[in-house]
């Protein structure tokens, strides 16, 4: 992947496939330049046996092929910056996956276009789950949730082109001042 955001786009699919009704995404950049990217869902969760081997590229839930590279590629990029990936999960409760990136490292990927990524995520699953995102850094914080715009839209899908465009533009405007420094 060329951007940290693209890893988000990729691993969020795991939460969607786990049947989550809420997926909460968080980006926290601390003063030392460590970026935390977290995805917490209330999907089906993983049992300890599956959790123990979920980091392997040869672990996947799909039946068409025997490989799954979402988590291994995320780990590779987090670790090459000097960071790590933590995964907590309980069957019936959900999963929390957290990747840490050391943004001062020359080997750290840029955050990339987070607003477009959120728009793509929401467009891909417009009815369920509800997505929320929180971003914070020493420069400030913002939050957004699909639940706050659904009542305004009343029956118009979140996948309609005009709505997707609105999400992309409004999020970009709010995320820029907070995480703009690590986007490129």
């Amino acid at each position: 992947m060329k951007e940290i955001s693209l890893h988000l786009l990729d691993i969020v699919q795991n939460s969607v496939k786990a049947g989550a009704s809420h997926v909460d995404i968080r980006f926290r950049l601390d003063a030392s330049g460590v970026l935390e990217m977290g995805v917490r869902d209330d999907g089906c969760g993983m049992d300890p046996e599956f959790l123990a081997r979920v980091r392997s590229p040869f672990t996947t839930t799909r039946t068409t092929r025997k490989v799954g590279l979402g988590i291994p590629l995320l780990m590779q990029n987090a670790m090459q910056s000097g960071g790590r990936v933590d995964i907590e999960s309980k069957v019936g409760e959900g999963t929390d996956i957290v990747a840490y990136f050391v943004t001062s490292s020359i080997d750290c990927l840029p955050l990339g276009d987070l607003a477009s990524t959120m728009a793509s995520i929401i467009m891909g699953s417009p009815d369920k789950p509800e997505f929320s995102i929180q971003c914070s850094s020493p420069a400030g914080e913002m939050s957004f949730s699909t639940e706050e715009i659904r009542p305004v839209l009343e029956g118009v899908s979140l996948a309609e082109p005009g709505v997707v465009q609105w999400i992309r533009e409004s999020l970009d405007e709010e995320i820029q001042p907070i995480l703009g420094g690590i986007m490129k």
Binding site: M1, K2, L6, L9, D10, Q13, R62, T64, R65, G68, L69, G70, L73, D113, S116, T117, A119, S120, M123, G124, F144, I149, V152, L153, E154, G155, V156, A159, E160, P161, G162, V163, V164, Q165, W166, R168, S170, E173, E174
Partner: protein
């Protein structure tokens, strides 16, 4: 700041377009984009957003854009299927955002697939 008034206006514009869609009784054209790990890594996100932009710009009410997983031809990603009502599916490969306006204009609007971008052309070499 997020403007809810603007969103409300978008909702109204979208609703009138949806009504037009049902009145015309035209069947929908589907655009399906591969968005698994391989597609995303190869650049599917900007391609998908380019389709959304182009459809929004041309006010094409009868077109839906959706995502799919990996179909096993990862080396040809980003891949896009365009399915016109009553026609056979056309698969475009190695799609870049710059190619999208032409696919929309020639294929989705005028019904002539852009042969040089299709899987058939790519696999000949």
């Amino acid at each position: 700041m997020k403007s809810m008034a603007e969103l409300e206006a978008i909702r109204k514009a979208t609703l009138s377009r949806i009504n037009l869609r049902t009145e015309e009784k035209g069947e929908t054209t589907r655009v399906v984009i591969g968005m698994a790990t391989c597609g995303i890594a190869a650049g599917a996100r900007p391609v998908m957003l380019a389709f959304m932009d182009e459809i929004d710009k041309r006010k094409l009410g009868h077109v839906t854009v959706s995502q799919t997983g990996c179909i096993g031809m990862c080396r040809l990603e980003p891949m896009v299927d365009v399915i016109l009502p009553g026609k056979e599916k056309v698969t475009y490969v190695h799609v870049k955002p710059e190619m999208v306006p032409r696919i929309v204009a020639e294929h989705i609007v005028n019904g002539r697939p852009v042969d040089e971008y299709t899987i058939g052309a790519a696999e000949k070499n």
